[in-house]
Amino acid sequence: MLADETGRGPAASSVTKVRLRWLAIVVAVMALLTAGWPLLNSAVANRQPLANGARVTVGSGPTNSGTVTVGSGWYVQPAQSNPELEYVLRNGAIELDIRRVALVNRAQQAQMWRGMGQVLSLTVPGSSLGRPIRTTTAHGSPAITGAVSGPRLIGMATIVPGPSREFGIAMVVLAPRGTSRELRAAARQVVRSIMFAEPSR
């Protein structure tokens, strides 16, 4: 870490050695951080099993969150989950993504379906979202749902506006083509179980 004016002689050689040593330190630190943490992370199991009937709440505070109830065989992927924003649940080959979406105003509810289609094309390239169908959840909240299809995956997307209409819960079920009906039905049941602390208006 010292300037060598001439680039020749023993002093220059010493400076070169110091420079190369520091270069090696920089490369080692960068490699250690950039590859070390991800490698260590991939060595630790990314699954936190959920008991049959366990409730998973996404959002912050009772009036700004939604809760689903899972059946047997489900687990959380903690590395991709954040209780305030998003949960990624898995059951065999099926993945269920539950995301809380903040809305600026009530008028934005109408745009949620189009937004979901765009987010899907970002996260699952080549996928498309079918026409929305009005439905209700097991607890009577109005929702819209539709089919998702991609090159290798099929599934279902559902949006349930929160009671305050200032947030919504967006859920996407994805599974490889050929996944058993029972598993897909289990995922639909989790989606339909969504409930809020306040009754829907």
């Binding site: 010292l2 490369v27 630190v29 951080l33 630790v44 996260t123």
Partner: protein, 342 residues
Amino acid sequence: MISARAGWASRISSAQSIQLVRATAVLACAFGAAVLSWHFFRFLRVFPSAALLAVALELPLILVGIVGLRLLRPARPPALTWSVAAVVWGATAAVGCALLANRGLIGLWAKGAGTRFAADWSAALSAPLNEELLKLCGVIMIVLAAPAAILGPLDGLVFGALVGLGFQATENVTYGLNNIVLSGAISPVRAVTDSFTVRVGLTALGSHWTMSAIAGAGLGYLVARRRGAEHGSVLPAVACLLTAMAMHLIFDAPQTAEVIKVGLNFVIVAVVYLLLTNAYMNRARRALAERVAAGTISQHEAAALLSRRRRRRELSRATAAERHQLAAQQRSHLTEVEREAA
């Protein structure tokens, strides 16, 4: 094996070692840019207007930041090439590597301590370690690639701030893009502008540039020690790095008001800057006084040398024939004085 490596090192000339450092830095920046493209290129295809807006909004910040931060150095600004190189490191190599490192460490926090703890604390416990070290690597690369660019703590502070500026700008873009997904892609442009308003309007004054400025000042103490300068020391170097990490931890910690976090970081960097500048100018004046006493520079020249405005005024007063020579003389004197003062 060790002797073979030592032999290999001794066969490399100083110029070749500098070339090796520069080539490594270019590779690291290309790697970082590739990682960022891999993660965010799809935004450009799905949300082209919002993605371009996110980038465009940062350009004035980068330009104003480069100009402003280079002015922090007394007497004259650091070399433009290396200033831009520092910003590019922060914007590509440091952010790209931090993206992978943070994802790994945050995943470990979530798996080990639970998703609730990770949601609150994983950023505060991961970013200070990963990001401060990766940004500091950029300042070290400048020291190695351009040995005259950073001679002491004040130079380190300026280059650290420039690396932090680049990091901050790219991070702002990525936060803007991620906010599109978090808001359900209902209004992508609004998501980007909302994120920009918070990250530039509210937190920019106390963000990455302040933290890496402090870490960079610490590296400057190590360089000064290696040069044999009296003020060079390992202890302030370590203290500066730990302070930068602590600033980052507080900045990312939950349940602390933004205004406190931003204000604290800004005050720390301002105080350190004022102290370093004061010490730097005292050493520069002392070096000039010695030269005046030795007769190598006139009292008149010495009085104007440390002020940008007064040097320009001297040049404007000189005749066209004298101007070129006077400018060269000013540069030569200034280089000598800066070397002693840094």
